[in-house]
Amino acid sequence: MPHRPSIAAITTIYHKYSHTQHIVDRFLEGYGWAGTHHHPPMDLVSLYVDQVGEGDLSRDRAERFPQMKIYPSIAETLTLGGDTLAVDGVLLVGEHGEYPTNEKGQRQYPRYEMFQEIVKVFEASGRSVPVFNDKHLSWNWDWAREMYDTAQRLGFAFMAGSSLPVTWRTPSIDMPLHAEVEEAVGVGYGGVDSYDVHALETIQCMVERRKGGEKGVKWLQAYRGEAFWQAHHDQVWSRELFEAALCRSHTLKPARDGFNHIFPTIDELKGIVADPIAYTYEHVDGLRCTMILMNGLIEDFNFAARLKGQEAPLSTQMYLPMPPARSSLANFFSPQVNNVEQMFLTGKPTYPLERTLLTTGLTAAGVDSLHEDQIRLETPHLNITYPAPETSTFWRY
């Protein structure tokens, strides 16, 4: 009988609709996958929860799934209370929970700190196992880089990132591998340092497939409020791609009473979106990308790109069945968990960590530019080079 891997989960908080609940529950309860209710062929055996308060579900889950034990420290969670690493894979879910916000508005989730605790056990045990880090690596670029370098040094498989790259797409398309991409725009919603990284991952998972692969990013500039509208007017980013992305939205707010779907004029856009935000950035190979957050106008993540020699833009939506308005299950976590499962089984990431290292850096640069009066920031530290996986990893079965 094949060995069933044992998995540990290191988390900040476990309440309804927290990332921990979405991810850990799928290991415990199974989830809909490929037309059946799939139970991962592995056992989640240990759990660490940093904050346990009102609405906590970790105790309920431990009771209902007695094979999963809760430990009071990260080290014990990884050693199962013994002296040495005793699991075959680690989930690190540091999203949600009460953590301080710094002067730049970044929520200081302790992903780096937790990661360091995990690495300590790896080093003490003389052995490492695959790690999945939910969302971006850290709010702090230097720490993110250190996490990446540590994984390289110790040679363990490490995956991270958002569920946006792996969820359903409407239409169900990928960027053709080696396409010549002239410009790309992602239009999403949500807050700075929280949903901007989702929109950046939406763009990056597509443009990394371009000819020559990823070569890194040279500079980034953020735009907000009036400066956004001026930049939109000046076509700092393509109006055509912005509109193509909006034409993929399933949530476009009607610009006029009594209509349920009508394309907004610029004046109507300004009336609907009080605080528009954009991060425009240029890759080392010259590709220009723009991430736009249009709160009030849409509640989904859309992508459009102009490809060389093609008249119409390539565009799609990375669809999130987001509860509670649209669903009861945040099923976009299913393809994410499924990819992580594959890493736990094979010891190989299904998509590159460099993608998330880059989006982590772009998020931090966007936050910095906004904090520094929307100046253009040179990003020589984002000289991140990697090839895209040849096989598409988004949800399509």
């Binding site: 609940q21 359903w168 409407t170 169900s172 398309i173 399933h250 779907h261 119409a312 009861s328």
Partner: protein, 396 residues
Amino acid sequence: MPDQPPKRLAVICTIYRYLSHAQHFTDRFLVGYPCGGHWHRPNMKVVSLFADQSPEGDQSRARAQEFGFEVYPSIAETLRCGGDALSVDGILIIAEHGEYPNNEKGQKQYPRYEMFKQCVEVFEQDGRSVPIYNDKNLSYSFEKGLEMVADAKRLDFPVLAGSSLPVTWRLPDLELPLGCEIEAALMVGVGGSDAMDYHALEAMQCMIERRKGGETGVKAVEMIEGDAVWEAGKQGRYAPDLLVSALSRSDSPQGYTKDDGRTQDLVGTGELPRLVKKPAAYFIEHRDGLKTTLLMLNGAVSDYCFAARLNDHPNLQSTQFFLSPTPPVTYSACLVAKIEEMFKTGRSPIPVERTLTVCGILDHCLTSRQQSGVLIETPDHRVQYQAPESSQHCRD
């Protein structure tokens, strides 16, 4: 190529108010809609409109004023734009919503047949016919539906009818191979009868019509409700793995998922009967022997999912028909693109026999329900057709 003059359209509707079907569909011809990643403005002009009822919130007059068309007091005048001959190039009959009586079978008697017949009368009097889009079911009555399709054949005009479910996005983007051999199929739906069971039946029909030999008509139907539905499952009248497969595509399990967000195998845990107080099962036996089932499972989920077992295929095939949020109801744009195609080309990309098939299935199932779930032989249901070769749902 010189610009063609815009096609002239007439709208015949029951009511026109916010979020009514008439508003969803007609507005897209007035203000455009997203299609293939751009905002498409059809080269078509609504020139006339008839609304049977003008309740509070009526928008027909305001739309007429803003977009420059006339509202006429009768269907004939609407089609002739107040003149003495048919003067439109296409007709939208949108008879959903509004106050109409229910009959003893629980069917809401929307006047689709009556509206259609008045259009046909004008076609006959004026010696010319134009394409008709008939929103949703042809009629609550199979007999009337048969007559509508016969009229269209006799006068040689295309009819596009039906639900948005067959043309909306699918999660995943599943299309059964044309000519496949289907061993069994099951659909899960929610909502009331005879509004939402219709949508669910048509969603299933657009998948199974692609089987080897195409659609052959329906031999018998049976509709049961309550605990008998679970009993029928235990007796093997529908396959539990197909039900698991369909539900695995749902994004909306209720019960514990609503309570604390957890994923659930509603069949495996036995939760399904606890959640669904009044299940309904529609059993359909097609003339080629294929048996299909629709389960209406209010209380368990809130989306529409399909599963099928194919011969010689190791995995079950399943998908969700994606009903996007309201507003903006993007899935109605998928259907409007098909309507526009018919008006442009003079042929419907979707066979009207699909809707006629479902019209007959539903009407007979509701007879079965009225007669406490007896098996109803359906010798009158001999609707045969081949599925379109190319996929017609939204996928680009």
